[in-house]
Point group: C2
């Protein structure tokens, strides 16, 4: 797999040759020559295949393999049981969808995988804790007064009356929003290094990290003053005073969060529809890397790792303020209705399905809602304490315990269904396949589907996979 | 199973009749009559079997079953995989040894099992936290002055010079030791209600609860002054000051723990050899419940739930004091050598093997040692802080993190081997059995072994199981 770039360099060269050939041929319209060139291409393909096989022979074998079973039943049994007495020597997992496999991560040896994971978790938590530092630094530098000094054309803004004061007021907020907009992509980049075997797992990991980032840097930083590190230290040294501190500051910040929900609803969803980030990225790409970028206007999949944490944060804010400041709830309902309309449109018409998520996000969203409920109940404990109602405060504690016990129950009752393919279902599906005679066909399909990308037969005459097909033909 | 006492009442009655019959017959020495009476007995046995079957038909079926597989391979696969899509509707586990099965717990429906577990954990933690209250209460009542008033014969002690002062001095300590001696049995009684499917699991549960009890009530209560509840509250409100508080009090209590190790070594092991508790219990039993108790001087199994926590506590004390007060270590080595000699003797000659533990205690002892190392490292952090060496104190924190990470590694590397029977081993053992032709024999044995006790054929002519056989015949 380390030699991939070598082949990768050959393919565009052949592609270029092929394209020039096609142009020449259409000009001359000579059928005989077309077949001649196609034969030549076929020869090139043969050459490439030969190179691929040589690489496979030369490279050391990876300690990863896709094993294809004749029945779902056998696969489910093998995936769920410990095969070797050394539990780390032979690990079996259900394979992800073929288009969902993260081939890059499969090449990482299992021994050093924990290191990758620790590095990713460490860097994500460092980003979460010290996020405020670069933001305040940039906010300090990018003041309008200083901008005028360093970038004289910015003077032009002063010609329009009122614009300069708006800029001065909004600039820090825009910088903060810009940083928060970039964070999900940074987290996704980190999660890609985490050695997950599938792209969906990478996205789920990124989704988790972004959610905790938002809870820390949007919810807690807005509610409690001071840096996040101070807050964590304070909570560790005086955990008993945490509920009352949370309660007093939560009730003081109700107005801020109404504004937050409104702003996020109006600006966030219009951003989602207009996709300015993608447009800017494409503009930069096409101007920097040349015209090649323009030839592949890929369809993207729904960025779950950006959308789910944002909406979960709104759920959290709604939960915490449901009792403290119920005036926030109508705004939240408006936010969710708008979000429903926007995302139904986006999912149907804008984004492409790159792989099936199979409801794998559900346990995580359940966890986010649980965190919201727990925060709400802690706030209630503090609030009743502040209002000098110790009886109400103490009787909220069992409620908190019940929430935690309900979580334990859900873990036992529902979580296994997300991790294991039950033998009953496997056998039932096998029987259905045997009845309809699909068993052989499925088996054939599977063998072809899990071929690694570097060994796939090169075929110039067929179009690329549907996910990379442009919406509008760019001839 | 609810009708068990009914049958239980029949059996002794028949036994009594049988014994009187035997006496009469040996007097007359009439072979013909013996065979006649044996036929009658056979009839009784038939009657009992019939009753048993009627009960089984009348009773609702229990939702528990032992399923016997033709190969270890199949059993291992079935035990490790999720069979039904509802993970709590069909739970599979490897069956314990036949003599290790806890038939009483199997009758508890799975739905209310979590309730049992919560009740057991709650009562065990209440006992741990509030243990000091009854002890101090009894110590307050049982003063020698008061004893003389309420129990005049105690005056006799005063006739021997010096004895009364020894009594006054030792009485509180004896009461404390007595309470601590009873606790393991109380914990074992609680663990029996916890609904474990095997006696070994019950003992492991009791072992855990006793260890935490000892750490709380012997280590922490001796080290830190004040009640355990105060200590827990203090640790929660000011977790940051915990290491320094622990360090300062640990170094002050070194002498106490040297005495503790010496006393526990000398008195504990001599108690173990002389078994006064068992003797007193038997004396009480035989005088209270009549002569029936004397007829069954059962052999007991090694009480792991009493011994392992005691020795683990000594390991913990040794770990914590290894750096603070190394003078304790020679005493500890003496303690372990003495313990080795005593327990080798006890295991070989005194206790009986009721079931194989199969090394199931190992992960728990590993955990206890880990707790000891963590406590040691926390003490070190506090101690370096007290000695005004912040650099040393801070550089001990990564050590603590490494300990925790090592624990995570061990959990992944070694723990699965204790929970799952690996398919490789199962297949290898199956092949060995097939080669030696033991497969059929094993299968036959298994079917007979897992017969519930209420359905076992009653047989008066054979002796009882070996675990209940008296060492000395009591004719």
């Amino acid at each position: 797999m380390a030699r991939m770039p070598h082949i990768g360099a050959i393919i565009p060269w052949i592609l270029l040759q092929y394209l020039t050939l096609v142009e020449v041929l259409t000009a001359r319209e000579d059928a005989v020559k077309i077949s001649l060139q196609e034969e030549k291409l076929q020869l090139f393909c043969e050459k490439i295949r030969q190179l691929q096989h040589e690489i496979v022979i030369k490279e050391q074998e990876l300690p990863v393999a896709f094993v294809i079973f004749k029945s779902r039943w056998g696969a489910a049994l093998a995936a769920q049981s410990q095969l070797h007495s050394h539990p780390l020597l032979w690990i079996t997992k259900m394979a992800p969808e073929p288009r969902d496999v993260s081939w890059r991560s499969l090449a990482i040896p299992y021994r050093i995988l924990p290191l990758y994971k620790i590095v990713v978790v460490l860097s994500a938590s460092l980003l979460t804790i010290f996020f405020a530092i670069p933001v305040t630094a940039v906010q300090g530098i990018a003041k309008f007064e200083k901008l005028k000094k360093w970038f004289p054309p910015a003077m032009a803004v002063e010609l329009i009356p009122g614009l300069s004061s708006i800029l001065t007021g909004y600039l820090p907020s825009v910088i903060l929003k810009g940083f928060i907009y970039i964070v999900p992509f940074a987290m996704f980049g980190m999660a890609k290094l985490g050695g997950c075997i599938s792209k969906s797992k990478e996205e789920i990991k990124a989704c988790n990290m972004v959610f905790y980032f938002l809870v820390g840097n949007v919810f807690f930083l807005s509610v409690l003053s001071g840096s996040l590190l101070d807050e964590i230290g304070e909570s560790f040294t005086h955990p008993k005073s945490f509920p009352s501190r949370l309660a007093s500051s939560v009730s003081a910040q109700a107005d801020f969060f109404i504004t937050y929900i409104l702003t996020d609803g109006l600006s966030g969803f219009s951003f989602e529809i207009l996709q300015p980030g993608l447009l800017i990225w494409h503009a930069i790409k096409s101007n920097t890397f040349g015209r090649r970028g323009e030839k592949n206007p890929y369809l993207y999949s729904l960025p779950y790792f950006r959308i789910i944490p944002m909406i979960s944060l709104s759920v959290l804010i709604g939960m915490v303020y449901a009792v403290v400041a119920p005036l926030l709830l109508p705004f939240l309902i408006g936010y969710f209705c708008l979000g429903y309309v926007v995302y139904i449109n986006q999912i149907e018409d804008v984004y492409d399905t790159v792989y099936e998520t199979c409801g794998e996000y559900w346990p995580y969203i359940h966890l986010y809602i649980l965190i919201a409920i727990i925060l709400m109940q802690i706030t209630m404990i503090g609030l009743f304490g502040l209002k000098a109602k110790p009886a109400a405060s103490i009787s909220t504690i069992p409620l908190l315990l019940f929430t935690l016990m309900f979580n334990e129950y859900c873990k036992k009752r529902f979580l296994p269904s997300f991790h294991h393919y039950s033998i009953q279902n496997a056998v039932e599906n096998d029987e259905l396949d045997v009845k309809s005679g699909q068993m052989e066909v499925n088996h054939e399909n599977v063998i072809n589907a899990y071929c690694p990308p570097c060994l796939r037969p090169v075929n110039f005459l067929e179009s690329d996979s549907s996910s990379k097909q442009p919406l509008v033909s760019s001839s």
